[in-house]
């Protein structure tokens, strides 16, 4: 851990230390009276950061990374108790600061960027006002000079037409522009440290690349950056040092190349293995999954009949909507595809590309304006609801957020019972047996069945959603961003589960995601959507390795990559000197 300073010293330039945290503990008191208890959220964390460097704190939800970051600006949250042996930030002993001193420090010496600028900037005010506020709070300039500076700052973070944008509200800006505006408000007074908590999580991959580039330029100018992220590949492009947090403690910390390419700790290795990408294609992402494969010697998932008949076939789908301003927007524009039996068709695109609307049409929940969908060769759209009803069960769906699709007052068992056909399972005992069978298929325990959706974890809820989708014995399951809200290790389990189910039951998946890695890992064939059009379609192999359309190339170029296959990763001890030069 002391390698940080030694390394910079040997590199020739001794950089000013901006952050020195030793043995940081944060706990929250919860409950009252006899129920009072202490949640120990951050345990013995050590962090160091020098000017012009980026320290990444990586962990899954609940690992304590955000609380750590907020403690660094003195806002850990209500009822928090903070203890540390050492807490130095930008030359200040921050452990003993009063509220007034903190307020002088925040915004001037430390900038903080939260995720999702739609809600992290005041949604009722123009973004320019928010930037001016940061200046005003520290007594910078007068009203007019602040307005001018706000425009200048917007320009400096790469916002085109900054005068116009300064007068617009966050909801009038695109995701990338509003994240830039948020960054502009955080760096208005040129702070020495910028803490960015998941700054790109809500963004499309091309926009994410732009924001990471912006942060990279700030780093070059000498700003110290603390980057909080759940995404190891995002971290890889920017971080000089990586700290991996699990359950409130740092399990591994060191130079980025070591941690990402020669992880020592089991948890870091599991995290890295769980990232779906081209290298993981055809192999399970979790340890359990790999163990199962060897135990039952199942054939690799890529082997599949290429000439299987199409289950679902979409021809020239078009869908447009009229906005409030009277303008007609074509959301899906001449999209055709085929989904063959037992295969996975991945639909990938950024937000607003029309992929979810395409999914809705495929589910026949939305009639296309033109074109049609065929299910097993027979019309699936353009027919009456009654004519569709008998085949409804053939196509089911799993959404990103299953919680909102469950009745919160029903327990898991009732949710599944509701989805089981009374014609196929007339007896009560038969249905009960079917519930157990479904739960078993998706890896839910019997005790989970009595629980309500709110009492289940994110992964368990998604398993329940999958079980419900399986209940009517469908041919096709539409997975609309089904793993996008999950932590990477949980996502890995769910992806492995989906792969197993496909092999067992011969299901076809229409797999919709914005995540190129997930799409690459899961799909046999891929459809790339942009602005409602299918710009490229082909086998996953072709689309990812030999992209023909410029947009596909742009997408792939924007994707932050770790660069090495899991097999190529080695423990640091065995690392070759060229890669792990400073491991000693």
């Amino acid at each position: 851990m002391t390698a940080t300073l030694e390394q910079t010293a040997t590199a020739g330039t001794v950089r000013q230390e901006l952050l020195n945290v030793r043995n940081l503990d944060v706990s929250f008191s919860a409950g009252r009276g006899r129920n009072a208890r202490l949640n120990h959220v951050v345990k013995g964390v050590d962090l160091r950061l020098a000017a012009g460097e980026c320290l990444a704190i990586v962990g899954e939800s609940g690992s304590g990374k955000s609380v750590t970051a907020r403690t660094l600006v003195g806002l850990p949250g209500a009822n928090a108790a903070v203890q540390a042996e050492r807490l130095e930030l930008a030359g200040h002993q921050i452990g003993t600061l009063g509220e007034r001193q903190w307020r002088q420090l925040r915004g001037r010496d430390i900038g903080f960027v939260l995720q999702d600028a739609l809600v992290s900037l005041d949604p009722l005010r123009p973004v320019g006002k928010e930037i001016e506020e940061a200046l005003r709070l520290h007594g910078w300039g007068n009203r007019r000079s602040r307005a001018a500076k706000a425009v200048e700052l917007l320009a400096s973070v790469g916002v085109p037409q900054p005068e116009l944008r300064a007068g617009q509200r966050p909801d009038e800006l695109s995701g990338g522009l509003r994240q830039r505006a948020l960054i502009a408000s955080a760096i208005a007074l040129d702070p020495r440290i910028l803490i960015a908590d998941e700054p790109t999580t809500a963004l499309d991959v091309t926009v994410q690349a732009q924001i990471l580039e912006l942060l990279g330029r700030m780093k070059e100018r000498g700003t110290g950056i603390v980057l909080i992220s759940h995404d190891l590949s995002v971290v890889a492009t920017l971080a000089d040092h990586v700290a991996v947090m699990q359950g409130g403690s740092i399990v591994e910390q060191g130079p980025a190349r070591h941690v990402l390419y020669h992880p020592q700790h089991e948890y870091t290795q599991a995290l890295l293995d769980a990232i779906p990408s081209e290298h993981t294609k055809g192999t399970p992402l979790t340890k359990d999954g790999r163990a199962r494969i060897t135990a039952t010697s199942r054939r690799p998932r890529t082997a599949r009949p290429a000439d299987a008949p199409p289950v679902l076939r979409a021809e020239g789908l078009v869908k447009s909507y009229q906005g409030h301003d009277g303008a007609v927007r074509t959301v899906v524009d001449d999209v055709s595809f085929e989904l063959r039996a037992g295969e996975t068709l991945g639909i990938v695109g950024e937000s607003g590309s029309g992929k979810s609307t395409t999914a809705k049409i495929a589910l026949a929940m939305l009639e296309p304006d033109a074109g049609r969908v065929l299910l097993d060769g027979a019309a699936w759209t353009g027919i009456s609801t009654a004519a569709r009803r008998s085949r409804r069960r053939s196509v089911t769906v799993v959404y990103q957020d299953p919680l909102s699709s469950f009745d919160p007052r029903w327990n898991a068992e009732r949710i599944l019972l509701d989805a089981i056909s009374r014609r196929d399972f007339p007896g009560e005992a038969e249905r009960a047996a079917r519930v157990l069978e479904l739960a078993g298929q998706v890896g839910l325990q019997v005790e989970h069945l009595a629980k309500h959706p709110l009492q289940l974890s994110g992964g368990q809820r998604q398993r329940l959603a999958i079980a419900r989708a399986l209940a009517p014995e469908p041919e096709v399951i539409v997975l609309d961003e089904a793993v996008s809200a999950l932590d990477v290790s949980v996502q890995a389990q769910v992806l492995d589960l989906l792969t197993d189910l496909q092999q067992e039951l011969g299901l076809s998946y229409l797999f919709i995601s914005h995540d190129l890695g997930v799409i690459h890992h899961m799909s046999d064939r891929v459809l790339v959507m942009k602005d409602g059009r299918a710009v490229e379609q082909g086998s996953a192999e072709d689309v990812f390795n030999r992209p023909r359309h410029p947009y596909t190339r742009e997408l792939l170029a924007s994707l932050p990559k770790l660069g090495l296959a899991p097999g190529q990763r080695t423990p640091a001890a065995a690392a070759t000197p060229t890669i792990g030069g400073s491991s000693s």
């Binding site: 995720q115 005041d122 009722l124 940061a134 709070l137 948020l182 301003d325 009277g326």
Partner: protein, 360 residues
């Protein structure tokens, strides 16, 4: 002329799509067209969503007033008791049966003999021209009776609303999302305030602050000092309601990331509450204010009688007691109109507070 052409020429929905073309060919005098700005927006008045919505509102408003007027007309016409007899008795100040000969001129003058439907349309026509009839008791036009007394009541209504907002804003900003004890005590006080009967509260205020302490005049004049206690009488219970609906929203706002963002750039807790969160929390309160404005106007009678203030309240009470129906009806219609106006104001306030609503 050109506006007319614009309207008819662009009405078909398909024509709206090519905004650029219609702007270019929009004729010389299109007052509504703004060349160069936002070409896709249709440049005629009929299809503009804002105006269409405003027209809809206006229609609803007229409908509400019409319904109130019809209701009061029916009450006048169908209540037991002959109206001409009633009128004569009021004039003479005595109660007795009247002969047909006595009633005939009255019936002829007020048209009580005409079929109900004829009377109804005459009533509506009068209403449309602002004629609410003549008071049975005062023999003055109802508009005049109301006009003389409406000023103090409107003043009291708005003063009460202002007091209610001030109290609830101070309490919310001061107590919401503080320690559990502070927050729940304040919330409890709000509930109590909301439940206070105005009549009882008014008497207590009068006794304590006017009679015992002598801080305020016992008989409320038209001055500002005389307005304080009546406004508190009506404002405190309303502040309780406002506080209850605002508190939840305020606490939600305090949890939003933008509040944290503002702290992170060096703003203090109070600054965040006042400059960011308060604005987010007032929308439900504003909705409630639309209802409250109408309710305060009709509730003003309580404060006016306790504090012996001039105002519509006293007129209404006298009119009800003496069955001076035209006056009663005039006031009912006025209150309906005020409700409608208040709700229009609420809608305007909505888009000022949350500009995002303009587009939805």
């Amino acid at each position: 002329m050109s506006t007319f052409n614009n309207v008819t020429g662009l009405l078909p929905k398909g024509a709206r799509n090519d905004g650029a073309g219609s702007t270019a060919g929009g004729g010389p005098g299109g007052a509504a067209s703004q060349p160069g700005r936002r070409p896709p927006r249709p440049n005629n008045l009929v299809t503009s969503p804002g105006l269409r919505r405003a027209a809809g509102r206006l229609l609803t408003a007229v409908g509400v007033v019409w319904a109130a007027a019809t209701f009061t007309f029916l009450i006048q016409a169908l209540l037991p008791g002959d109206r001409a007899t009633l009128l004569l008795n009021q004039l003479a100040g005595q109660v007795q049966q009247r002969t047909a000969a006595e009633l005939a001129p009255i019936n002829a003058k007020y048209g009580f003999d005409d079929p109900l439907i004829v009377q109804y349309f005459r009533f509506l026509a009068d209403l449309a021209t602002g004629n609410l009839g003549v008071s049975y008791q005062l023999h003055k036009p109802v508009t005049e009776v109301i006009g003389d007394q409406v000023g103090p009541t409107i003043g009291l209504t708005f003063a009460s609303l202002l007091v209610a907002w001030l109290i609830s804003a101070v309490v919310i900003v001061g107590t919401a999302r503080r320690s559990r004890a502070v927050s729940s005590v304040a919330s409890g006080l709000e509930a109590v305030a909301a439940g206070l009967p105005q009549y009882w509260l008014g008497v207590i205020l009068l006794v304590v602050f006017a009679l015992n302490l002598g801080w305020f005049p016992v008989v409320g004049g038209s001055g500002l000092a005389g307005l304080v206690l009546p406004a508190l009488t009506l404002g405190i219970p309303l502040a309780g309601f406002l506080g209850q609906v605002t508190r939840t929203e305020f606490e939600k706002g305090m949890d939003q990331p933008f509040a944290l963002s503002a702290r992170m750039r060096g703003m203090g807790d109070t600054g965040v509450r006042l400059r960011h969160v308060l604005r987010h929390s007032v929308l439900p309160g504003v909705t409630l204010s639309g209802w409250a404005l109408g309710s305060l106007f009709s509730g003003a009678v309580i404060a006016e009688s306790i504090f012996s203030r001039p105002g519509l309240g006293k007129v209404l009470v006298t009119a009800v007691n003496s069955r001076d129906l035209p006056v009663v009806c005039g006031i009912v219609i006025l209150i309906a109109a005020i409700y409608v106006l208040a709700n229009l104001l609420v809608d305007i306030a909505y888009t000022l507070i949350d500009p995002r609503l303009k587009n939805s």
